[in-house]
Subunit: 166 residues, 2 copies
Amino acid sequence: MHKELDLIFKRRSIRKYHDKPVSAEHVETLLRAAMAAPSASNKQPWQFVVIEDRKTLDAFTEVHAYAKMLKEATLCIAVCGDKSNRFWVQDCSAATQNILLAAAGLGLGSVWLGVHPNEEREGQVSQMLSIAPEYAPLCLIAIGHPAEEKGPSERFDPQKVHYEKW
Amino acid sequence: MHKELDLIFKRRSIRKYHDKPVSAEHVETLLRAAMAAPSASNKQPWQFVVIEDRKTLDAFTEVHAYAKMLKEATLCIAVCGDKSNRFWVQDCSAATQNILLAAAGLGLGSVWLGVHPNEEREGQVSQMLSIAPEYAPLCLIAIGHPAEEKGPSERFDPQKVHYEKW
């Protein structure tokens, strides 16, 4: 396999973290990676909320059933999209994937926690973070120094590939 | 910057290609990268149509206004999602981003051509590729050996970052 593609295959959902903050330099690298994503007509319809406050991280676990790891994570990035752009979900998903891959490349662990299109979760997260009404939170990304290790995934399924036609 | 993250920053939308096929090995690597993406509850609601037939590649340019580069591209991957899964757009977008990054890592050029949620395009592409009715095409990815070079993008905008709250 090609060395340069390693981070694509080594990225796994990591849900256990050490109690050690992510450096400001790494936070900026994650955000730079996010904004290096492509977007429809290069509109870049994204904004990001960076959360490190322990109270907020803990409070997310009360509004999101699958966010328990935020009790351990030292960092969360909320990826938000401009709802007036009909490609916002796609563009913000590409930005999210770049954050997950950059985290893997930096030796951090991360996991994508879906918010949109769960309306209740969207409303609660928007309220907690005072997200502007024209934006919606696509997801929360829990991030930290990994306290678990996983080998590369093996999800390749040739039955999901069609040639020329379905 | 961190060497391992290079492909995130060097990936650009490439729309000019040489007339040289993408090897079967590289096609498989692109599909492995796609399926290494995360998905909600690990449902992997994706399927892929690999198109190399010149007639089909040319025909796409008649149903998609921004797909002219498919006249030159030697490969197109249609990323399709299971419409019954409400996270399909997000999951297929992560898979798409992985394909774009893997292409960059392999020295190939690629560009994401949006199909969903344009209903007319979705219907036409579905019909051309005989996509199963429970699936929808998220996008077409034009791929080829690059005949243009672009430096890394500089899209980082600190004004799009909020700390703790919007």
